[in-house]
């Protein structure tokens, strides 16, 4: 921009989730020169989903690093970088490729603060697109948040819309602890939303009531929030008022919001695309049972991915939780 240009900064921008991620990265890098980006194809290519597009040009190779192809290397060196004063934001190309880095994440990243008695800690973010429904090859559709949720020491955020994507990512980057930031690639570009042009944060551990309701609570996160909203619309036509709770961060979890809504409606359906067994739905269900047993009018229902290897594209549509499945589970709860 020329120095003479008289520009009025727009108050809001219409952004997709992918663009909102980029906006947060850019503004946080402008705010804090310790913020650096590492990953495969994040530089010149701007990331395979273009979430880092233009950042190499703006910030240079010392802050936006196309790394060798090695996830353990990326995360392990980020530990060192973070210990030595940087705030690395790592991109793992797909959740299905984070496994080489699990040793670093589980054995080191999650434990550093605790095992050094708080003398060392790791302000770093590991971003990764997750989830199915995009007709991708093997290993490109996984939703393995449970691995991280069952690893004490990691925070886990999963935005469902552009506003939250920007605000949660900014909060993640400013967080003093490591954050796994899972981006719903199915809806990376599915819709745009008005997003404040200014930097802002969305506080971790605050769920969002996406729709208020009285008869039933649908709990979801990430790409499944839209599925829950679609189901709520179908139910509305039948005169059922469903509340939709978007968790936004899974750890920390907004326990009050979950329990509060469960107590209010007495019926809960949890939706996630990760496999059902030992998925986050099981944790939520247990939590609700512990705190709202007497207010429950039906067993907590789970609509989840099946307990199978994520299928190849030809039949993946049958794997993904659908609004119809959520409606069926809701009816089961209503008719219990």
């Amino acid at each position: 921009m020329s120095a003479h240009a008289t520009t009025t900064t727009p108050q809001v921008e219409k952004l997709t989730i992918a663009q909102a991620v980029k906006a947060a990265l850019r503004q946080e890098m402008q705010r804090d020169e310790r913020v650096i980006i590492l990953g495969e194809d994040v530089g010149k290519d701007g990331g395979v989903f273009r979430a880092t597009e233009g950042l190499l040009d703006e910030f240079g190779e010392r802050r936006v690093m196309d790394t060798p192809l090695a996830e353990s290397g990326i995360v392990g060196t980020s530990v060192g970088l973070a210990l030595a004063g940087f705030r690395p934001v790592v991109e793992i190309q797909f959740t299905g490729f984070v496994y080489p880095a699990l040793n670093q994440l589980l054995a080191h990243v999650a434990r550093f603060r605790h095992r050094t008695f708080g003398r060392m800690h790791l302000p770093m973010v590991v971003r990764m697109p997750y989830g199915g429904g995009i007709h991708a090859p093997e290993h490109h559709s996984e939703s393995y948040e449970s691995i991280f949720l069952n690893t004490p020491g990691l925070k886990v955020a999963v935005p469902s819309n552009p506003y939250d994507a920007k605000g949660l990512l900014a909060a993640a980057i400013r967080d003093e602890d490591p954050v796994i930031f899972m981006e719903p690639k199915l809806i990376y570009r599915a819709f745009r939303q008005d997003v404040p042009a200014e930097p802002y944060t969305v506080e971790f551990g605050t769920a969002r009531v996406a729709k208020e309701g009285a008869n039933l609570t649908l709990i979801a996160y990430g790409a499944m929030v839209r599925v829950a909203m679609d189901a709520a619309e179908v139910l509305q036509k039948d005169g059922v008022s469903a509340e939709v709770l978007d968790l936004r961060t899974l750890n920390p979890l907004d326990k009050d919001a979950v329990i509060g809504s469960a107590r209010k409606t007495g019926r809960v359906v949890i939706v996630h695309e990760a496999p059902r067994t030992a998925g986050f739905g099981a944790e939520l269900s247990a939590l609700i049972m512990e705190h709202a047993l007497l207010e429950l009018l039906a067993p907590v229902q789970r609509v989840a991915g099946f307990d199978v290897t994520f299928p190849l594209p030809k039949i993946e549509g049958h794997y993904m939780p659908s609004a119809a499945r959520v409606v069926r589970a809701a009816r089961a709860a209503l008719e219990f």
């Binding site: 495969e40 010149k44 290519d45 080489p100 007709h135 090859p137 307990d307 199978v308 499945r325």
Partner: protein, 357 residues
């Protein structure tokens, strides 16, 4: 002697067939005309399959495809050196190897349209399925080679990967295990200069992958990967060593990915047209054709016949692929375990009820 040299090394590059079609006679392998024609036919088929797959993808009849254009010689040379009892451990761009080993083209395509029935072929129990997690399969290749060594079987495993894979820990572990256990494994690294948008120069500061073999104590050689004779000679020798229990080797086929990384990629974002064109001049197929023509083995009429024949073959293969009965949704529950546990049974029944309604 406080300072002594404890190790010295050099790395060889092998080239036999030049881009102009001339050959270094002293290095030429003993291949008869029939073999040369088979190599050419294989490479031409790969090229045609690749082009067809890209066309199908644009029409929505193919899933994500990883084009192998430019790497035909690297794949044909290896495939030709293999024996039926050898094991093949592919990464994800080795459709050419499979084609030349006789795996039906419609079967290969079945996998890439997103149907898991195409993952492995019953007639080829020693060809492993595609391995997408970069570099991970190299360890499987090392392990199979260890099994051949432990049982003293006169067969070997060929494990494939790309230049990008050489950065993964698994690559280094595989070379080390193979060397330590004298695995009957040949590692073939197709250095096509790019790992999606990351050039080889950013993967490592050394100038070859072949030289990395020194650190693990196995022979490493770089061959002109667009020279089918060089690839064939190097792999044949390495396989003979491996099958005889004389240890593993690493072969770097120095080549070029002429196409996008996959149909989901746009290579023009990160590399120049000039660079791509400079490699077009080193085309593996054109140089073999020049050689064959100079030898009086090939003429325009034969070229046209071959083209027509291959096109016909591929049309038929696509027809076979597309006329297959659709994959049952319930198949996702099959083969998760040897038997079907209660939770999968419940879930399968609920899906079947949903599909039926």
């Amino acid at each position: 002697m406080p300072r002594t040299t404890i190790y010295e090394a050099q790395t060889i590059r092998l080239q036999i067939l030049m881009p102009d079609g001339s050959v270094d006679r002293s290095l030429m392998p003993t291949v008869d005309d029939g073999q040369i024609l088979a190599l050419y036919r294989g490479m031409a088929t790969m090229r045609a399959v690749d082009e067809k797959a890209l066309k199908l993808q644009r029409q929505g009849r193919m899933g994500t495809w990883a084009p192998l254009r430019g790497q035909e010689a690297a794949q044909a040379g290896v495939a030709h050196a293999l024996e039926p009892e050898d094991w093949i451990v592919p990464a994800f761009r080795e459709m050419g190897v499979l084609i030349m080993r006789g795996v039906p083209i419609h079967h290969i395509m079945t996998y890439w349209v997103g149907d898991s029935r195409g993952a492995v072929h019953p007639d080829f129990p020693r060809i492993l399925p595609t391995a997408v997690p970069v570099g991970s399969q190299l360890l499987h290749g090392a392990g199979i080679g260890m099994a051949m060594e432990l049982r003293d079987e006169p067969h070997a495993a060929v494990a494939f990967a790309g230049d990008g894979a050489s950065s993964e820990g698994d690559f280094h572990e595989a070379l080390n295990f193979a060397a330590v256990f004298k695995a009957r494994t040949v590692f073939v690294i197709q250095n096509n200069q790019w790992a999606i948008s990351v050039p080889f120069s950013k993967q490592t500061v050394v100038s070859s992958i072949a030289q990395k073999a020194h650190a693990y104590g196995l022979p490493g050689i770089q061959v002109d990967g667009n020279d089918v004779f060089a690839v064939y000679v190097a792999v044949k020798e390495a396989l003979e060593q491996a099958r005889a229990g004389r240890g593993p080797s690493l072969i770097e086929a120095f080549t070029y990915r002429m196409g996008d990384h996959t149909t989901a990629d746009d290579a023009s974002r990160y590399r120049t047209k000039e660079e791509v064109e400079s490699w077009e001049a080193k085309s593996p197929i054109a140089r073999l054709r020049l050689f064959m023509t100079a030898q009086g083995l090939w003429d325009q009429a034969q070229e046209e016949n071959l083209r027509t024949e291959v096109e016909g073959l591929i049309e038929e293969e696509v027809r076979l692929m597309e006329s297959r009965a659709p994959l049952e949704p319930g198949s996702m529950f099959q083969h998760m375990y040897a038997d079907l546990p209660w939770n999968l049974k419940e879930q399968m029944e609920s899906l079947q009820a949903e599909v039926a309604s």
